[in-house]
């Protein structure tokens, strides 16, 4: 399978009055066609910023300061807003956490879907309607015509998210970015929506970047998982690999912090300290102040992401592997 999206040495900084905050720090990602990449991390780790960068939705004071985002061998960073607009919605689309803020609450769902389609394909009225209704039924809504005529504020959260998905997929995009698409939903609805995204992805062979803070959700969806911490990818590997054999101390800590269904009323593992502020990052490895296995070198130098299929950004782990 060929590579669809390739992010190389990407840096995004926020320029504030006092300082420059590195929200994304040297991120490299390759996404193959038909692959689902999960990005997981705690709030403020830069995962949503990464999605905005790919969509070309960064607005000042945030700016790409280095690196390239190659999509179908075209550097998205260099494109003008107009060129980006042509790509957004047709070749790359996005689903957000809160569908209500991205849908017009008083405009018929069907019309909103048609609008997206019309900006990319100039079709006749009847053709638009047919395609929109088809898209609505495709996301598992039985009464497609009724919903076509309904306004979003009368729909439930799950239904709205389905409409968002229909809207995102109407032009058959090659890349779909999902930014916490189920965080605002109840667990049973979440299960339905996840299943729907997975089904459509299988059917259409769309590549997906799936962003979530929930390890469980990521493990259901992703083929490959990247763990982000303070703007960097600290570990990236196949989903099975990362959950069964996590290597980076942060990934291990995160996985152990989740209440395990089998532990009973024991104390949970926690990671000491808290996420560093972006204007006061440690000199060495960004995780070093919270790390249990840190060595002297960790406090002085920043480690690089190393490995073949399972990459880790950690001196201790990488050194141990080079001995073996």
């Amino acid at each position: 399978m060929s590579t669809l999206l390739s992010i190389k040495n990407l840096n995004v900084d926020i320029f504030s009055e006092k300082s420059i905050l590195p929200v994304i720090n040297n991120v490299n990602i390759d996404l193959k066609e038909g692959e689902v990449l999960g990005i997981v991390g705690e709030s403020g780790c830069g995962k949503s910023m990464l999605a905005s960068a790919v969509m070309g939705l960064l607005s000042p004071p945030a700016k790409v300061t280095n690196g390239e985002i190659l999509f179908e061998n075209e550097d998205l960073v260099k494109l003008s807003q107009k060129e980006l607009q042509n790509i957004r919605g047709s070749k790359i689309s996005m689903i957000f956490q809160e569908p209500m803020t991205s849908l017009n609450p008083l405009m018929k769902c069907g019309r909103q879907i048609e609008e997206v389609l019309f900006t990319h394909e100039k079709l006749g009225r009847g053709e638009l309607r047919k395609k929109a209704i088809h898209a609505i039924s495709e996301v598992g809504i039985g009464r497609a015509v009724d919903v076509y005529n309904d306004i979003p504020s009368r729909l439930s959260g799950g239904m709205r998210q389905r409409i968002m998905i229909a809207m995102a997929l109407i032009c058959n995009p090659r890349l779909l970015i999902c930014d916490e698409p189920t965080t605002a939903l109840d667990v049973t609805i979440q299960a339905q929506i996840l299943k729907l995204i997975k089904e459509i992805q299988n059917k259409k062979k769309t590549s997906v970047i799936f962003i979530s803070h929930d390890m469980g959700v990521i493990s259901k969806m992703a083929d490959r998982v990247a763990v982000m911490y303070a703007g960097q990818i600290v570990e990236i590997a196949g989903a099975n690999e990362i959950f069964t054999n996590p290597k980076h101390p942060y990934t291990i800590g995160l996985l152990r912090a989740i209440p395990d269904m089998n532990t009973g009323t024991k104390a949970l593992h926690d990671i000491r300290g808290s996420v560093p502020m972006l204007d006061a990052l440690p000199n060495g490895c960004l995780f070093s102040p919270r790390c249990d296995i840190a060595i002297k070198k960790c406090f002085k130098e920043r480690p690089k992401l190393k490995g073949d299929k399972h990459c880790t950004r950690c001196f201790v782990v990488n050194d141990k592997e080079s001995y073996e």
Partner: protein, 267 residues
């Protein structure tokens, strides 16, 4: 469990109902049954988990128990008194024994009060000290118990992270040594690693102070970790209640089954 079943009943809720009437003058009256006959008992030192999806009535239940909203019908027996019939000084006295921890660590602390004022407020209201020295001592002890640095006493809430704010909320809830603490989604606004710290803190406080929790959450894995007994709610009714392990390993109700199947387990 058997030991706990034998222990003293702190709270007995029976047939609690809360109906909302909607519809204006010209519309047909509709009744929304937010709580439709909920009954349960809470024993000393145990944790009762309440799970369900949004709109199932779990938050209404919490607010009704603590009398933030007035239930339509039912009984809330707290200790040996009917909590719903109390008023004035008796109510104030009873309120010392039942406290609440809120979901949102941002809106649950007054942004214009210092930590010292926030944690000390229940003391001020209950007049639970003789002099300023005793008040300070109590505040400092509580801050230490929940793991807050004493040098933070005069800071404002906006200077803290979500996890630390939640600790302030917890300190405020336990400063009068209550018997019951209602936790309304106390960790759902927090990141996983912070969530673990707060859960550990709640468990430790329960051991040390013998508090009973009513732990409301939509996150079933958290509830499974912390609760001794679980109550599943749907549409204002309790659909299933039992010992945590039984509910999770052998659910009887169809809705409970759907709920459990929906949890995204890792691998």
């Amino acid at each position: 469990m058997t030991k706990k079943a034998m222990s003293e009943v702190l709270l007995k809720v029976s047939n609690l109902k809360k109906y909302y009437n909607s519809g204006s003058l010209f519309q047909k009256k509709k009744t929304l049954k937010a709580l439709d006959g909920v009954s349960f008992e809470l024993h000393r030192g145990e944790t009762l988990g309440i799970v369900g999806e949004s709109g199932c009535g779990k938050s209404t239940l919490a607010k009704s128990i603590i009398r933030l909203i007035e239930p339509t019908a039912g009984e809330i027996i707290l200790g040996d008194k009917d909590f719903r019939k109390l008023s004035g000084q008796n109510l104030k006295e009873a309120r010392k024994h039942i406290k609440m921890i809120f979901q949102d660590p941002y809106s649950s602390l007054n942004p214009r009060m210092t930590v010292n004022e926030i944690i000390g407020e229940p003391l001020d209201i209950a007049k639970a000290y003789k002099d300023v020295e005793e008040r300070n001592k109590k505040i400092e002890n509580t801050m230490e118990t929940v793991g807050l640095d004493l040098s933070w006493k005069n800071r404002f809430p906006h200077e803290f992270s979500g996890g630390q704010r939640q600790r302030i909320g917890i300190a405020k809830a336990i400063i009068l040594n209550p018997d019951i603490v209602i936790c309304d989604e106390p960790v759902s606004a927090l990141d996983v690693s912070i969530q673990a710290k707060i859960i550990n803190l709640l468990l430790r406080l329960q051991r040390e102070l013998n508090i009973s929790y009513i732990f409301i959450s939509h996150d079933l894995s958290v509830v499974r970790h912390i609760a001794d007994r679980v109550m599943v709610m749907y549409g204002g009714k309790v659909v299933e209640e039992g010992i945590t392990e039984d509910i999770f390993s052998n659910p009887k109700d169809d809705y409970t089954k759907t709920l459990l199947e929906s949890i995204p387990y890792i691998i």
